[in-house]
């Protein structure tokens, strides 16, 4: 989506072929650039980590200048859409999670800003009746084990969104309740009897489903409190907002989106791709273009396919290096301080994000690769998922602009 935004911004006519709504809605809606080093040690800043990544890492290929530019580009999108993000490469943001832990990240919506939380003496952990997967007592208990958070006073408050009659309640249901004027008023009324002004309040990600701060600002103003949204389990409201925002932005730039477009293969002539072909339930459809950006995910999204001892990128048949002995694909110690080898399997690229063969030669001159299709990083382990997606999407579209005239 970022690649489409950059290309369209550069005046290209862009078609986005999509299959499914992508994983933004199940991700955290924050931009993790780099949280942990190779040994699982937390980094001081994302920028410090960028200096240490190995030669295979996408960040190494992209380089610090383009990474910085990509973050700026993203923040410009957010500002233009009225949902500005905070943060920079020079500061690690530690955001609270619904499990009462903290995770490192880089760019965050302002509803996840922890500045006030870090200095507060009194903290309210606010839950909602019937909401699953957000338990204030668990958060409080775990916070008390975290240095810097042990000596704070915690108070637990529950709000009733009136959703008991119906299905299991998710954060999305509560966010939709707050989207309505009646829900917002009811919530303010309930909170006003239980929250003291100037409190710092930890809250699940429920401050509205739309990519703006209308709900957050309304609550903050009405109650004179600071609300801090946690990272939580899917469906992720912060991720939902991020997706809505990016979609809105690319549509304004005239990007044409085709849903349910299952790209099955490509047509290649003389080292160049001339078209990709979708394999619908009815028939094939061919999409011609001057250049192509591949950003359809890893093993989970179908951008990479695996069988024992062998992995492949199915559309362009790009080479994917993987150990022949599939026993070597996984690190059996799930919670060890080492990344998972399978997570690093992907397409090798040059500095312009063009795919390389085993000898390091560019395979297709007008194809660029971004996101989890790339090799060399375990996003889950090092916390770099949306960061690599953003920086490589930016780099792929910018290189395309330079290379394809």
């Amino acid at each position: 989506m970022v690649a489409a935004a950059v290309a369209a911004k550069n005046g290209k006519r862009v078609t986005l072929l999509t299959l499914g709504a992508g994983t933004l809605t199940i991700g955290g809606g924050i931009i993790d650039v780099l949280g942990y080093g190779d040994e699982g040690v937390p980094l001081a800043t994302p920028r410090a980590g960028l200096l240490e990544v190995g030669p295979e890492h996408p960040y190494k290929k992209i380089g610090p200048v383009a990474i910085e530019e990509s973050l700026r580009f993203f923040k410009e999108i957010c500002a233009a859409e009225g949902y500005p993000y905070l943060g920079s490469l020079d500061e690690m943001q530690w955001v609270p999670t619904a499990a009462g832990t903290f995770k490192p990240t880089c760019l965050i919506p302002k509803t996840m800003d922890t500045t006030q939380l870090n200095s507060a003496t009194n903290v309210v952990v606010l839950g909602f009746e019937e909401l699953k997967d957000f338990y204030p007592h668990l958060i409080t208990k775990n916070f008390k084990n975290i240095p810097g958070f042990q000596d704070k006073n915690y108070e637990m408050v529950m709000i009733d969104p009136g959703l008991a009659d119906g299905r299991d309640v998710t954060a999305l249901d509560v966010a939709r309740w707050l989207d309505t004027p009646e829900g917002l008023q009811d919530c303010i009324k309930q909170m006003s009897t239980r929250l003291k002004p100037d409190s710092v309040v930890i809250i699940p990600p429920v401050l509205g489903t739309r990519p703006d701060y209308v709900i957050a600002d309304s609550l903050a103003q009405a109650l004179s409190c600071t609300f801090v949204e946690t990272a939580a389990v899917p469906p992720s409201i912060t991720g939902f907002r991020l997706r809505t925002m990016l979609l809105s932005y690319v549509k304004k730039l005239g990007v044409r989106i085709v849903e349910q477009a299952a790209v099955a293969r490509s047509i290649v002539e003389n080292g160049k791709c001339t078209a990709v072909v979708t394999d619908g339930i009815d028939r094939e459809r061919t999409y011609y273009a001057k250049a192509f950006i591949l950003a359809n995910g890893g093993f989970y999204g179908g951008g990479l396919v695996a069988e024992p001892g062998h992995a492949q990128e199915p559309i362009f048949k790009l080479p994917v290096a993987a150990p022949e002995d599939h026993e070597l694909w996984a690190n059996p110690n799930l919670f060890s301080n080492k990344p998972q080898p399978f997570a690093k399997i992907g397409v090798a690229v040059d500095e312009t994000m063009r795919p390389l063969d085993e000898n390091g030669k560019v395979v297709l001159t007008n194809v660029f690769v971004a996101g989890r299709n790339l090799q060399g990083y375990d996003f889950c382990f090092e916390k770099s998922g949306n960061g690599v997606a953003l920086a490589s999407g930016y780099q792929a579209a910018m290189s395309m602009d330079r290379e394809i005239k």
Partner: protein, 401 residues
């Protein structure tokens, strides 16, 4: 993608479908696509498992469209509904809503039947309400003369290039103008249109209420008739996106009918077909200038077909015409879902953001391919509606004037 595998185990329970389900957003009585579809399907495979909230699924297909793992969630729901009705009786309401074709045929057979039926419908809204059809819902009146009747009276220019048109019940009995506009557009492109009068309802309204066996019987009749043409390479075209989806996709997902894959290759949406002609340099682009502004609503059942929004792209070729995609999601009606008394409010709530954006636009007319979307939009947003083919025909007729 090819043929969907109705395998609930492809679901990783990622919850993307929950976030994109319009019914889930509108009511917390529905347990959501993930739970009611693949999660409970695993139970249903081994034992009878009755999930009361299954009735809330509208088969709009936004879950299927959002799924990163290609699970046809809504189809699992429809199959479960059919299984449920193997041992239960259908309500009168569901019978009536699913068998609109029978009633329409009856009305069409009598002299002044359509007019009498329309009068009768106005008077019997109270009775319909008693059996569970909303007295507020925008039920469509019958046209005075069906499409088939009007088509038979039309003298077409004969051309070597031919297409078969599948009108579907809504165009045939309620909105024949769309069909006649389509024929005019094809004639302007030097195509002769063939209409087979023995074709039956595609089965979409039957499937959503669990009449799966009847839908399969209809599928067999339609495929047998249409295959005669598709085997010769003659394309079959629909102007109704729900009929189109049913004829080519849901027939494959729901039934095992021989030859359906080959036949499906020749099925086209009208906009898609004309846009392909444009790509081949074969489209008649002698459009007159239309200095008009419209909003456009993409039906969910078009988006689900993996071809983008061809109708909208086609309209962009007409000089002077400005059409803006409202892009506000499902209208809520989903076939006959919004006609049901207990679903009317849900359908209106689903469509509310769309209606608000249409009203906000200040434009008096919205274009959309789907007949029931147009009913719901006219009802909810108080605007006029048109099918893209009507506008394309108008542009041809305006040429040189």
């Amino acid at each position: 993608m090819k043929k969907h595998h109705n395998n609930p185990d492809s679901c990783t329970a990622c919850t993307v479908c929950i976030a994109h389900c319009p019914v889930t957003a509108a009511t917390n009585q529905f347990r959501g696509p993930k739970m009611v579809g693949p999660a409970l399907e695993r139970m249903r495979l081994s034992q009878e498992d009755v999930e009361p909230s299954l009735e809330y699924c509208s088969n709009c297909k936004n879950c299927d469209m959002s799924c990163p793992s290609g699970v046809p969630i809504s189809t699992l729901n429809m199959l479960a509904r059919a299984k449920l009705f193997k041992t239960r009786k259908h309500s009168k309401r569901d019978y009536i809503l699913s068998h609109g074709e029978q009633a329409a045929k009856l009305a069409a057979m009598m002299p002044f039947g359509a007019a009498l039926a329309n009068m009768g419908m106005d008077m019997s809204r109270g009775i319909l309400k008693m059996i569970g059809i909303s007295d507020k819902a925008p039920l469509p009146p019958y046209a005075r003369a069906s499409f088939i009747k009007q088509f038979k009276a039309l003298r077409q220019q004969s051309y070597p290039d031919k297409v078969v048109f599948y009108p579907g019940c809504f165009i045939n009995y309620n909105d024949p103008k769309v069909g006649m506009d389509f024929v005019a557009v094809m004639q302007a492109n030097q195509y002769e249109v063939i209409v087979e009068s023995d074709l039956v309802c595609c089965g979409s309204p039957l499937v959503v209420n669990g009449f799966l066996d009847e839908a399969e019987a209809n599928a067999k009749i339609n495929i047998q008739i249409l295959k005669k043409w598709t085997d010769q390479g003659i394309p079959v075209i629909t102007c109704c996106t729900s009929c189109g989806l049913m004829l080519k996709q849901e027939y494959q997902e729901l039934f095992h009918i021989e030859g359906v894959e080959e036949y499906a290759k020749h099925l086209y949406d009208a906009g898609e077909f004309l846009l392909e002609l444009y790509d081949k340099g074969r489209l008649n682009t002698n459009f007159g200038t239309l200095n008009e502004q419209y909003m456009y609503h993409a039906p969910c059942h078009l988006r689900a077909q993996g071809m983008g929004l061809p109708g909208l792209e086609l309209l962009e070729l007409i000089p002077g015409l400005e059409v803006k995609d409202v892009d506000a999601g499902c209208c809520g009606i989903s076939g006959n879902y919004g006609f049901k008394d207990d679903k009317y409010d849900i359908a209106m709530k689903i469509g509310a953001p769309l209606f608000a954006k249409l009203k906000e636009s200040g434009l008096s007319t919205t274009i959309s391919e789907c007949g029931t979307c147009r009913l719901q939009i006219a009802h909810g947003a108080q605007v006029k509606t048109l099918h893209p083919m009507t506008v394309v025909r108008k542009a041809y007729e305006k040429y040189g004037k």
